[in-house]
Each structure stands twice: as C-alpha cells, then as structure tokens.
Assembly symmetry: C2
Homo-oligomer: 133 residues x 2
C-alpha cells in the first residue's frame, strides 16, 4: 500500500501537521498538508504545506527565506496527524512565525490575572516587514 494512501485524509483531503524543531524540540508551528504537499515535502526534504486561505501549495520560506529542512516525518496511531522534525533555516535564532517570533505558540495563558488571559511572552526577533518585502 502506498505510504500516501495510509494517511487518513479528512473530508477536505487534508491532514494536520505539527513542526517540531530538531535541536530544541520546541513546537514551532501547526499547518495542513494535502496529498500533493506531503509528497512534495518527502521529495524535496523541505516542508511544503497547503495554505487553506490561499488554496494552494505553500513552500514554507518561499517569501521569507525561512525554509524548514525535514529530518524525520512521523504519523500518529490513527494515521491522521503528521509530526515533522525540522531545522528552521533563515535566521539565527530561528524564526518560524510570520510575526517574526521563534515559534507560533507565543501566547501563554496567564491564570494569575483577575481573569485568565492570553499573554504574548516571546520576543519578536525580526520585524515582519523586513521579512516579507
């Protein structure tokens, strides 16, 4: 059975993908792939996602230069989620988020406040306007 056929694609033909940094094990981002994107990722060794908003393949780094070199691809027990181990290229320290931050998961729930609230707790490493120009 073809490895692409073993993935349980959802009703939109997509699978959720988690990108984890190889060195730090930080979770960098979450995105989606369709069959073509997953095949392209394996073929070129760099992460190629499917952009649901733009409805097309999205070679991560195509605009920012922040490519993701893929070391390993894993599939979960239900065959419906993919985990990538990546090296995030293009900036040191690495930037995976379009906001210019290291990781997309930069908002932490602060439960100490009078009411819980999401707080941005990671610095912007590079102005997004200078990333996407």
């Amino acid at each position: 059975m073809d490895w692409l056929d073993q993935v349980k694609w959802d009703a939109q033909g997509l699978v959720p993908v988690i990108a984890q940094e190889h060195g730090t094990k930080d979770v960098l981002m979450f995105a989606w792939m369709n069959r073509e994107a997953l095949a392209a990722t394996a073929a070129r060794g760099q992460a190629v996602y499917y952009s649901r908003s733009r409805q097309r393949l999205w070679h991560k780094g195509e605009e920012s230069g922040h490519f993701q070199q893929v070391h390993e691809m894993r599939l979960d027990c239900d065959a419906d989620v993919v985990l990538l181990s990546v090296t995030q290229h293009g900036h040191d320290p690495s930037i995976a988020c379009h906001t210019g931050r290291h990781s997309c998961f930069f908002q932490r729930l602060d439960t100490r406040a009078p009411a819980p609230q999401w707080q941005a707790v990671e610095p912007v490493l590079k102005d997004p306007e200078s990333i996407y120009k």
Copy 2:
C-alpha cells in the same frame, strides 16, 4: 474579552490541541477541544479533550488512569491551535497512546525502502488490554 472568546473555534466549534511532555519535550498526542473542554482543562489542571467519535467530553485518563497534568497552555499566532505542556501520569515510562506506547507518533517514514513506508519504531510499554479493562 474573555480568554475563551479569543480562541478562533472552527466551523464545528473545535480547536486542535497538541500535548507536549513537560520534561522531555516529546510531542505525545494530538486531539481536539471544544469550548467546554478548554474551560474544564483550565479549571481542573488536567487535559479534558472533546472526542469527535464519541461526541462528548473526554477527560484523558478517565479509563486508563493516564491523566495529563497541565503546566502551561499556549495559543498560536492565529489563535486557532492550542499547545499544552503536560506531565503524563499513570505509568513510568509515560504512556500517552491508546496502543500502550509513549507517544502517538510512533510511525516513522522510512525512505530507504524500495518505496517509502511508515514503520512502527517505538515499543509497546504496556499491553492495551491491561490498560483498558
């Protein structure tokens, strides 16, 4: 604005959730939460997901005893994915997967084979039949 209102729930009222182990930084599993599940997770400090197959709240560990203590909750840049930092209780070494493995992401793409294939590369730590009895 209420922290639960800041989450961009999908058309089904759900948000994807990644559970990462606090100590090892291993990605343990991926699941979904609805508003009630996210509120319950924050309130009790243990992961409560929404089971799409059973269409009800699923307090992780309710059958297996493998509870997840939540240290931190994060929200991504688009406010549509949640990342949990958890301690996986109930077994040592920790078991998050219903197959009795440490992590749900135990299938690795082997690209060396004549054709690429997913290979189970992590051991079963406990027989699932003795976990769910």
